[in-house]
Symmetry: C3
Subunit: 134 residues, 3 copies
């Protein structure tokens, strides 16, 4: 089963928690056991899984990536000035795949699924694919 | 088919080779062709695939991440002093997905599946999901 | 359905666009909806998804990784002098998993699938596994 939804970022760099939207999709499906792939079809955004109970963690991750990958020094910046966003998105990657059991995502207690936008503000698409084990 | 097992780390940072445990799970299943997803439901641990024939490589990877992500300078450190562990886990990600053919994992000759614990010593859970192609 | 093909790199570090080869495999299959896993069974290569319309982006990503992970300072270098290649491959990871719908890969407009070789020139194997949703 394949579903899509859109989200909107408000800042240049932002991490948006999409856990509850994905849990809703699984609840409406008839998948009891399987895998859930969360994918963003974008080259300057990524999917990450980490803790959002303390929202400072998502800010720390953004800061760490910004300190590693400086803005404004890349070949691609002459085209549309977002070279750093492409590099950060490549390091995190555009998808995560999470197990499902008894109809629920097997996220840990301190895991949330977030879309990292490194070139906002923009509207971004999220594609969720559910596969049953058999 | 979904299986879980636990492992224990003995140090703050440690990479634990789980290849043989995952190969056992596949051997006991009836999956001949498909995918194997290895997932850790933790926000300060990750799954990586690399070489463990020379175990120094796993130490080199830990050193490289520690030199990129310093300890003790993150917002989240005021909560439980493991901000760097969250950031390292985000960069590597909580899962890997490996093809299966003729009932065997298609790991390369120099690939092992390891759980990276960045906030040990702890007990960690590993979730293995097998999906058949049809 | 599982398929493999080989590619050859010409330089020490190189990113090779394999999008059209993977699209051909999907076109020949009967998969209308599902997931496509692209995997390299190598410890000094990785799979990344980013933009290749401006090929400078792939050079920027290689430069960024080289500035973060210096050559020649790792324990493993005494064995075969490619410690940095192992570390870079670990950070990017050996696979990506992409949704398929209506018989096509759901890559975004600016996404290409590339194999990153960090220890070329070499021949590298690419394993493509297609799973149907049901």
């Amino acid at each position: 089963m394949l579903s899509t939804f859109n989200i909107s970022s408000s800042n240049k760099t932002e991490m948006i928690d999409v856990t509850s939207k994905i849990e809703e999709i699984i609840a409406k499906s008839n998948i009891k056991e399987g895998l859930c792939n969360v994918y963003v079809p974008h080259a300057t955004a990524a999917v990450i899984i980490n803790e959002n109970y303390d929202p400072n963690i998502l800010l720390d991750i953004q800061d760490a990536l910004s300190s590693l990958i400086a803005e404004g020094k890349w070949r691609h910046d002459s085209v549309d000035n977002n070279g750093a966003a492409h590099i950060k998105a490549s390091i995190l990657g555009p998808s995560e795949t999470i197990p499902i059991n008894e109809g629920k995502l097997l996220l840990g207690q301190w895991q949330n699924i977030c879309v990292a936008d490194f070139d906002g503000p923009r509207e971004r698409k999220v594609i969720v694919t559910l596969i049953k084990t058999s």
